[in-house]
Subunit: 341 residues, 2 copies
């Protein structure tokens, strides 16, 4: 029951300009010589009718759709929004639309995405299954992966891979706390309704464990807080564990929100930040400058990430092999790790 008013078609333009549809096509695409005078008539008709080529018809013909899709875990995370904003800025001149979509781990979601046809798909999700990634790649659409996690060999060489700096970022956090002489460093892993546990395939978790070992720390189950479904639950559990004597003088949060929850728990247990416990978050989101104390946090280079994504699509469309890019982030230090004089 969807009725659309008839947008002007190529035929309308042709009629108005008194030429054949083909000529219109040539003028629009600028790929054949057309008599100057006819060309001008066509352009005038285009102008007058406010004609725009129908993207859908183009897509059907196997042409570009001018639409790039960004699939993420959590659409309300400002990190993704910022990257998409940057991408949109870059894409504005090439005439691409960028849209952001939350992932769903099921066949019908993937089928829908496949059938809708995009010029490119970027995936930044720790939970989106690799088999689905492969199905997307199989459609022939250029795919860019933001490497939050490891993928198997099946993906290698078939999709662009951008290492955003997550791994080294988390390592920097551990280094920072290590440099402060902290002995009991604790990592706050994701909260998840599905009780999703991180493995070494997860690049944050991996970075933490790897760096801890490099720094000579021994890792026990007390070094990784995991298994809670909500932030409230995490808060409560944290308070309890602290009161029960959990040894902790440094915390690395998987993201800023979790770091903030941890800070809340610490403060409510009478611990001082950073004197008793130093805390670092991840994402450098707005809340890191608004919480108390202000939170040190890893800032990934979002403009560079966005640029790398767009460049990767460009290259792949030229026929090059999917590139692999390695970027780095840096810690923005604030009060939560800065000892008062």
């Amino acid at each position: 029951m969807i009725k659309r008013e008839k947008a002007p078609t190529r035929k309308d333009v042709a009629d108005l300009a008194g030429v054949s549809e083909t000529v219109v096509s040539y003028v629009i695409n600028n790929n054949r010589y057309v008599a100057k005078e006819k060309r001008e008539r066509v352009l005038a008709a285009v102008e007058q009718l406010n004609y725009r080529p129908n993207n859908i018809a183009l897509a059907l013909k196997g042409k570009r759709t001018n639409h790039i899709l960004f699939i993420c875990d959590n659409i309300s995370n400002e990190y993704f929004g910022k990257i998409v904003e940057e991408m949109a800025r870059i894409a504005a001149e090439s005439g691409h639309l960028i849209s952001l979509m939350g992932s769903r781990n099921d066949d019908s979601f993937v089928s829908l995405v496949c059938s809708r046809v995009f010029d490119g798909i970027v995936i930044s999700s720790t939970s989106f299954e690799e088999k689905y990634v492969l199905r997307l790649i199989d459609t022939g659409t250029p795919v860019v992966l933001l490497m939050n996690r490891e993928y198997t060999k099946h993906v290698a060489g078939r999709a662009a891979q951008i290492y955003t700096g997550i791994h080294s970022g988390i390592k920097d956090c551990v280094q920072l706390l290590h440099d402060m002489g902290r002995q009991h460093i604790v990592y706050i892993d994701r909260v998840s309704k599905k009780r999703h546990f991180s493995t070494m395939a997860d690049w944050r978790y991996n970075g933490f464990v790897t760096k801890m070992q490099e720094c000579g720390y021994r890792i026990t189950k007390d070094n990784v807080i995991v298994g809670y479904e909500t932030e409230e639950e995490l808060y409560t559990a944290l308070c309890q564990r602290i009161r029960e004597g959990l040894q902790v003088d440094g915390i690395v949060g998987r993201n800023d929100a979790l770091a903030c929850v941890a800070m809340q728990a610490l403060k409510d247990c009478g611990l001082r930040i950073p004197e008793d416990v130093a805390v670092v978050g991840f994402d450098n989101s707005r809340m890191s400058s608004y919480c108390t104390p202000r939170l040190s946090s890893v800032e990934l280079n979002k403009p560079a990430i966005a640029q790398a994504i767009m460049d990767a699509f460009e290259e792949m469309n030229q026929g090059s092999a999917p590139p692999v890019v390695r970027l780095k982030g840096h810690i923005v230090e604030r009060e939560s790790t800065r000892m008062p004089e």
Copy 2:
């Protein structure tokens, strides 16, 4: 140079099942009687080839695209993300994709959106120009407007209108401060590179001014903080104005981030919150529970908004007139407005 591997088409299915393409179509759409045995062969072929109808071809035929677009001002605002999440949850069973896109105020953006064809478009933007909204409506696509601002008569009846509770929410803020006996209530308006000034067409500004008058306050230029390009600039200016003796004992922030900036300025000027100045924000975003003191904030009913949007599309697709829906939010009170005993 985009090459896609050939996805199975209706013809492949027909060949495999040994029937005509038409029969396949009938089976898929379930709109004609097909001999049971043939139907099963078709279904089997579909299964075997993992065939999915090509959405683009459907769209070209004027069918649904199963894709709804949400256009917003600021894609990294978690408010939009939450609404889209809810919409996606509702849409999962009807098989719709929802995607979020930042608006751009120019012809080419609108043309691109028009030509891409969506089943529905929701617009929540204070800056997206009405003429562009009208162009979108003119394509025949059902449009839902989230009423952050006023539109002219040209839009009325042609697009669904959802009043999210912004207007009453801001009024509630003023009421709350009024009830606390505050005399000098200040509204922090948006920061904007373009030095965009709010007018009475903006529903937050409008709500503030209206309610202030209803409560009998006199409004001077000191009651509206406006005209700064960045949050830093706002912070600096605020500090200076406070030191110069700005009269203020209540603040309403256009959003949580601005309220937080204001709190920072107040604290840094030695004022106590809420004793000296009570502060309310808007959006009830995560930062409102992480800042110090925790910020009271207006929570809009995002699940209800999402439901209203999806219902509106449903109705419009049934051929009903675009509905008008009025929702309400409520203030989540926290420390920033709660006087200690």
